[in-house]
Amino acid sequence: MVPANRRGFHFDNCKRNELLESKGSITAKFTKTGTTIVGLIYKDGVILGADTRATEGPIVADKNCEKLHRLTENMYCAGAGTAADTEYTTNMIASKLELHRLNTNRQPRVVTAASMLSQHLFQYQGHIGANLILGGYDINGPQLISVMPHGSTDKLPYMTLGSGMLAAMAVFETKWKPNMERDDAIALVTEAVSAGIFNDLGSGSNVDVVVITKDRTDYLRNHSKPNQRVPKQTSYKYPPGSVSVIRKEVRYHSNANQSPAAVVPEVVMSES
């Protein structure tokens, strides 16, 4: 077996999984972000926005996940695609950037992060399914760079990605203009993400926003919550005795002020 502490990817299950697949089993689904992620440059900096739905096929796997990943104080990255890939890729780059920051004693630059990301994704030839919008502010001012799974990058003043990108882009193409004011820009980002939330099935729930300026970063988690669940009209509590119990065991926790950890079996046919 591969030692547990070895870094990097392990491939020791691949042969077995190939065999299982050849016998007719389909490999299981990964959690996808579905996603509408957007980014734009405005007068004083850069803004990223994202919805908060994660999907597993047609199922909503997470109603309020986080798709805006912190890379450094001055850089965030919005992720779409395979959820685990966006999470792990951005975490790894965040870690490398922190080392870079400590070792050079300088604030990391956006282009550094972009090339780290694109080199990593290119190395894996598109098998790491991360579609990223990188936004940050460094000595070269506000920057917005997209990185695709195969490692290509793009530098634009506004961009959208994910399954809801068309809906969001429709909003940007209509309303984006250079040098917007902060409040207008936040509102536009929210509107673009909302377009994805309401018109794309892969996107849903709330809008997360991050505003990055020269010396300040504001992470506005759940900036807009257009899909709040209405409180239940009735409580669906079951009455005592409604569960048929065959056997009950009690284990007292060792740190509690109880007798030392012991399993005390109790036989009960019906819950009291």
């Binding site: 001055n74 922190e98 080392l99 070792n103 300040r216």
Partner: protein, 262 residues
């Protein structure tokens, strides 16, 4: 010839010669001091200012390892740089693995085992540094010392490097001097460092270095690091609760502390 060049061979008297020699290198290095307070740890070093032409700003004497751990050294600065790079990598790897930075004790154990490896592996020499590590364990501050042999201790306050004995005596005296402030307590059980504030500890450290090390103590010849719970960064609001943070004092901050002592 009685002199032993082999690192991995024991001397007749049961010692590893090179480790003793590494410790000698540490004792030649500039003095470093650390004090553990109630919610803080202060570590500092006196930088030698042998020549007015040297730009001390180019050197990193107190190193930030990660958000909540810092370290300082006495001995050979190139060796320290290597250890700092290793420590930072260990901290980052731990964070990727467990979702948080390591507690001080874990980092210390890993650094110490790196040091130990370099006393047993072929073709290498031990690190010529002793280091002081400031960090948190279970939300409580701790101060560690790691020696070239891989030996490590936990201290309430300590000093390493040149004049370390004298400096440690100074710290012990300081402890006695502060005891009468708390007459109701049992004298022997009081450790002054647990009753003092961060500013007191910085003051004690500066006084110790002033009294016990060579040369003049100025903001240019001091490097001080402080570990404490700091309020969330207002400009980059990523957390809402106070988080452990290790910071290096700026020159103007050191100047303020020097002024308080003058």
């Amino acid at each position: 010839m009685s002199y032993n060049f082999s690192l991995t061979t024991f001397l007749k008297k049961g010692e590893l010669g090179q480790i003793g020699n590494a410790l000698a290198a540490v004792r030649k290095g500039h003095t470093s001091v650390g004090i553990r307070g109630k919610n803080t740890v202060v570590i500092a070093t006196k930088i030698s200012d042998e020549s007015a032409l040297v730009d001390n700003d180019s050197l990193e004497h107190v190193a930030i390892i990660c958000d909540n751990i810092g370290m300082v050294y006495s001995g050979l600065s190139p060796d320290f740089r290597v250890l700092v790079a290793k420590a930072r990598k260990i901290a980052q790897e731990y964070k990727l693995d467990m979702g948080e930075y390591p507690p001080a004790t874990i980092l210390v154990k890993k650094i110490a085992s790196v040091c130990q490896e370099f006393t047993q592996m072929g073709g290498v020499r031990p690190f010529g540094v002793s280091i002081l590590i400031a960090g948190f364990d279970d939300g409580k501050p701790s101060l560690y010392q790691v020696d070239p042999s891989g030996l490590y201790f936990r201290w309430k306050a300590t000093a390493i490097g040149k004049h370390y004995e004298k400096t440690k005596e100074f710290l012990e005296r300081r402890q006695d001097a502060l005891i009468p402030k708390y007459p109701s307590r049992v004298v022997k059980t009081i450790i002054h460092t647990e009753e003092t504030t961060e500013a007191d500890d910085i003051g004690t450290i500066i006084s110790a270095l002033k009294e016990c090390s060579d040369g003049e103590v100025t903001e240019n010849s001091l490097s001080i690091g402080v570990l404490n719970f700091s309020p969330p960064n207002q400009n980059f609001n990523t957390s809402t609760v106070p988080v452990p943070s290790f910071k290096r004092l700026s020159k103007s901050e050191i100047r303020e502390h020097l002024a308080l002592l003058a």
